[in-house]
């Protein structure tokens, strides 16, 4: 959207704001990178050396970072994969099949968005523990393997698909599962990709639930491990800085790879409801 008539100085103002916002957005993270590469005797919040990789080694060896990174990858992939799969499955009948109770089910699903995880964390912990999920990666995954938001997003996408495509497949003798897989899913790719993107970002960042459900260090995800390091290495916070840098790099790389799916117009629909 390019404005045809632009007053002089307008562009300069925009660039000045752009520069300030850029510094604000990446400044703190870059400063953390500086801190992570400084040796423990260097003064905090300076640009002086000596520079070292020792913090990374320490985080890797003593902080259990290798295990935490593996766990985070497993939990994140499982959560994102299940979120897309279960939401896309549930959204199909809600968008396209007629059956008794459809509206009730949809309203109930929407109602769960009104229940914040933070409010119900205690009973959720007891239920998960009762199912044998305490201190297991499955426990970090299963309760958050689907969300009402995801179902809503997929339903919106399916509703936008023209019905005659489906009818053609139906006449060709395709069953519901077949139509879901080969007609609905391919045509809903932008929304499914956005859901996957949100799920990956959310799962990679999640602290509260893994903190509650994971007990042994071998099972920690990256945020829980970094939280532990802040306590254990209180005298050398640079270990936690190094771990934080290592935790942010994969997600940035992931995001830059899939960023073409991040389109503002999808956000309009995504936040409704």
């Amino acid at each position: 959207m390019r404005r045809s008539a632009r007053a002089p100085g307008w562009t300069a103002t925009a660039y000045a704001f752009a520069a300030i916002l850029t510094v604000l957005a990446i400044g703190p993270a870059l400063w953390l990178v500086v801190g992570a590469f400084q040796s423990p005797e260097a003064e905090l919040n300076t640009l002086s050396g000596p520079w070292t990789l020792a913090n990374f080694r320490e985080a890797w060896r003593e902080g259990g970072l290798a295990a935490a990174a593996t766990n985070s990858v497993i939990v994140t992939l499982a959560r994102a994969g299940l979120n897309v799969l279960l939401a896309a499955l549930a959204a199909y009948p809600l968008a396209r099949l007629s059956f008794r109770g459809r509206n009730t089910v949809f309203l109930l699903v929407l109602a769960t968005t009104m229940i914040p995880e933070q409010v119900i964390v205690v009973p959720m912990f007891k239920i998960a523990a009762g199912l044998g999920l305490y201190d297991s990666l499955a426990g970090a995954v299963i309760p958050f393997s689907v969300s009402a938001f995801g179902i809503f997003l997929c339903r919106q996408a399916f509703l936008a698909i023209p019905q005659d495509l489906e009818e053609a497949a139906w006449i060709d003798g395709a069953g519901s599962l077949r139509i879901w897989w080969s007609v609905m899913l391919p045509l809903a790719t932008p929304s499914l990709a956005l859901l996957a993107l949100f799920s990956v970002i959310g799962a990679w960042s999640d602290l509260l639930w893994p903190l509650v459900i994971l007990q042994s260090e071998d099972n920690f995800t990256l945020p829980v491990a970094i939280n532990r390091m802040l306590g254990v290495f209180a005298t050398n916070p640079r270990v936690a800085y190094a771990a934080s840098v290592l935790a942010v790099v994969p997600i940035i790389v992931f995001f830059l790879t899939v960023q073409r799916w991040l389109r503002p117009e999808l956000f309009g629909g995504a936040v409704k409801g």
């Binding site: 660039y15 957005a25 119900i120 205690v122 393997s145 489906e166 916070p237 934080s244």
Partner: protein, 292 residues
């Protein structure tokens, strides 16, 4: 309706089953239990025992609980900051400058950053002795005796510190919603205003901002709901501060998982739920308005 009334009667339920199972057990089940447990004395070491409203009366006379609720309301101050930042960002990205697209990507990076990493980075920036922010304040206002604000230990600065992390991590997300909103403002309307002689500032004030009013309302509500649910930012950025400097969710976490008082934590959860519900209902009304 659709041609698909031909499907078998249980087909829809097979599609729905996995999702309903997870939501039913973990969300609906927990929601029911949080209410039930709130009326019991229940700890990590004993089974629930019905005590009526005792948890609630104890909470009401607990000063720490009240300060947690008060701090949660104070935390809503992050909402105007978020709106200002994200709206500015959206207007700059949408201003027609050539760097618009890369800037949009760049400003989204904090959204992708795990909250704990954001918190650790800001702990460094907010370090009381050497942090960049205190250095900057000393440089700018040192002559007025302003330096070394206790960002990580002293109330209410600890709240502001956590809010900075929330604002930093969140504004790129709301920027995208504003950009979606800006797409609804037809370029032709803005061009017409420009042709009518409105300068960029005039167009902004009289055309763009009024058209964005529904988006601003929406973001105000959803960012308020997130603010009431804040945990990571306080738990990590200002870790170890006394209980009376915490907001509601860290308070609940502490009550349940440090002190083992499950029943009382559930009662506090129910109170927080009621507060959030008010905002959720406003959100529903706004959504209904948009659909109409």
């Amino acid at each position: 309706m659709t041609s698909q009334t031909l499907h078998r009667p249980w087909t829809p339920w097979l599609f729905l089953l996995p999702a309903l199972l997870v939501l039913g057990v973990f969300f609906v089940g927990s929601a029911a239990q949080v209410v039930a447990f709130s009326f019991t004395r229940y700890s990590a070491f004993r089974n629930p025992e019905f005590v009526g409203l005792q948890n609630y009366t104890t909470l009401l006379s607990d000063r720490i609980f009240w300060s947690a609720i008060l701090n949660s309301f104070l935390y809503l101050l992050v909402t105007p900051a978020l709106i200002a930042l994200s709206l500015t960002a959206a207007l700059v990205v949408d201003s027609g400058i050539r760097a618009g697209k890369p800037l949009r990507l760049l400003l989204f990076l904090p959204v992708v950053t795990p909250t704990i990493v954001a918190a650790v980075a800001w702990r460094l920036v907010l370090n009381e002795d050497s942090g960049l922010l205190n250095q900057l304040l000393t440089f700018l206002f040192g002559w007025a005796g302003l330096h070394e604000i206790r960002w990580l230990t002293e109330h209410p600065f600890t709240l502001f510190s956590a809010m900075m992390v929330t604002a930093w991590k969140g504004f790129g997300f709301y920027m995208m919603i504003f950009l979606a909103g800006l797409m609804q403002v037809p370029a032709s309307t803005r061009e017409a205003a420009a042709i009518d002689g409105a300068g960029p500032v005039g167009t902004l004030l009289h055309v763009t901002l009024p058209a964005l009013r529904p988006t601003i309302a929406l973001i105000a509500v959803i960012s308020s709901i997130s603010a009431l649910k804040v945990f990571d930012e306080l738990f990590v950025t200002v870790r170890g501060v006394p209980a009376n400097q915490q907001t509601a969710v860290p308070y609940i976490y502490d009550l349940a998982f440090e002190q083992g008082a499950f029943g009382a934590a559930c009662a506090a959860g129910v109170v927080l739920f009621c507060i959030i519900l008010v905002f959720s209902l406003i959100n529903l009304r706004l959504s209904a308005g948009r659909e109409a």
